[in-house]
């Protein structure tokens, strides 16, 4: 194994170097020791957070349902009359925004929070990041299953819809991971990035069509919410898949492109600056 000199300035634009580094990391990540480590980290997170019990996991699912109840009571008359299966409509929005906000906030400070581990062991940094995405991802998946059950109740669930959900969920996880990696790098350069991001994620509940439909907005507001908020295409496509009518292919392509592009940009930034970021945290 050889580590040639790596001038930082050259790395920023060296796509070959980035691709080689990403390929090497992928080989490490897929190796047995790292897969085992990934499983242990997720298991440890589950046992630590949910006290290794079903009741613990149920408690963590309580927050979205409390939010669902509150939003349903407040907005049922204003928006719920026009929207079919309004509780399902709400739950999809809440699950998407909550997962995005929780995981990106956590990932932004992950290098700092795990500094001792990452500087004193050979644990790959990506493994720590992805273990957190996966641990919180299982709750998101449980929420998606509950959404599918609600869709069964409303009679809107189709096999096409379920199949369409799979790439959408994967694309959404890619978006979350990419934003988190980008945030982790930025956080190492400026500590208040975490506070700024917390503010942004609080606003997301309102600037994402969680409790209102895009149709209820003015044309300029609709344009901004759809094109400048990366969560909106995912939410529109997921609602189309579970509630109907299905969103057009343009929405799916838009969502998948956002997920892929943000992951690529976030991981490229992470690979380029991770060493400097680690040493600065």
């Amino acid at each position: 194994m050889s580590t040639p000199p790596q001038p930082i300035a050259a790395r920023r634009i060296d796509l070959t170097w980035l691709a080689g580094r990403a390929a090497a990391r992928a080989r490490t990540f897929l190796g047995e020791p790292n897969r085992a480590l990934f499983a242990e980290l997720v298991r440890a997170a589950f046992k630590n957070t949910d006290h290794n019990s079903i009741a613990g996991a149920l408690w963590s699912l309580l927050a979205p349902f409390a939010m669902l109840s509150a939003l349903y009571l407040v907005f049922r008359e204003r928006f719920g009359e026009e929207l079919h299966a309004y509780p399902l409509f709400l739950l999809l929005g809440i699950a998407l925004v909550s997962y995005f906000a929780t995981v990106t906030r956590l990932l932004i400070a992950i290098l700092f929070a795990n500094r001792a581990l990452l500087l004193n062991t050979t644990v790959p940094r990506e493994t720590v990041i992805l273990s957190q995405v996966a641990f919180h991802g299982y709750k998101f998946l449980v929420e998606m299953v509950l959404c599918a059950l609600l869709a069964v109740y409303y009679g809107t669930l189709t096999w096409h819809g379920v199949l369409a959900m799979v790439p959408l969920v994967l694309g959404f996880l890619a978006l979350v991971t990419g934003v988190g990696m980008l945030g982790a790098v930025l956080f190492s350069f400026a500590r208040d990035v975490e506070h700024i991001w917390t503010l942004v994620t609080h606003l997301l509940m309102f600037v994402t069509p969680v409790f209102y439909g895009l149709e209820s907005l003015s044309a300029p507001a609709r344009f901004i919410i759809y094109w400048l908020n990366p969560l909106t295409p995912f939410l529109v496509a997921l609602r189309g898949a579970l509630i109907g009518p299905p969103a057009g292919p343009g929405v799916y392509v838009h969502a998948m492109l956002i997920g892929a592009a943000v992951l690529l940009v976030g991981y490229a930034a992470f690979l380029t600056a991770e060493s400097a970021a680690m040493e600065r945290t």
């Binding site: 194994m1 020791p33 499983a39 242990e40 630590n48 001792a116 581990l117 062991t121 990035v193 600065r280």
Partner: protein
Amino acid sequence: MSGAAVRLESVAKRFMIPHTQRTTLRVLRALVRREPLRHELWALENVSLSVAPGERVALVGRNGSGKTTLLRLLSGILEPTRGTITLASPPRALFSTTIGFSPELSVADNVFLFGAIHGLVRRKLAPRQDEIIARAGITHLTHALLKDLSMGQVQRLALSVFAESDERFLVFDEVLGNVDRGFARTTDAYFRALARSGQTLVMTSHDPAFLGAYCERAIWIDAGRVRLDGPFDDVMRAYETSFDDDPPVLQAKANDAAPRKDKPPRPSVV
């Protein structure tokens, strides 16, 4: 690489130390004004050395001399700013006996977590779990939470798990500190077995007797450079002699604290 387990050629490591607590506004202001946000700290400079397979090498040096940075470079945790590091195979490293555990999990769970963090998979550890915990002398605490163990017990557990590693190249950084005499004998047997096994060892400690028991060669790192590299006894003699020139700081402090003759003594509060 002509058979070396590890070879470093002109390796240098620079850390960028921030001037102040960084915030977005400060970073933007500094960018606009083209002010430096950080300064350089060269932890290692022009380090060249090689370790043969099966060799047992002690890294010695004062606090902050660059030993841990060098070990982190060898382990791939950090990357060199300049120079090349060539490894026959990546080492398995133990930098701390407390990092890699989860205090809220049981001892039994922590065997697998700490093991996984150090490259040991559950499939391999599971059949040996009881023996690992017994070797640490804490069988009666198997189901206790790790946070209820003493620091020494955690350290014993860490070393007991790590001893399952059969990697050809091992790195240890100051890992023995809080173990009692009984477990020190166990670790002594472990390190002696390592020394006989032909595994390559690079280790640091501030205890010359500990290093001398297992290492045949020493490298003295001083202010980020290799000051001396050679047979263990020769290097340690030179290293120990270097302390003779140190100013007796604590003695001077003690003298300062003593009441001066030209000033009246301060009244005692107690």
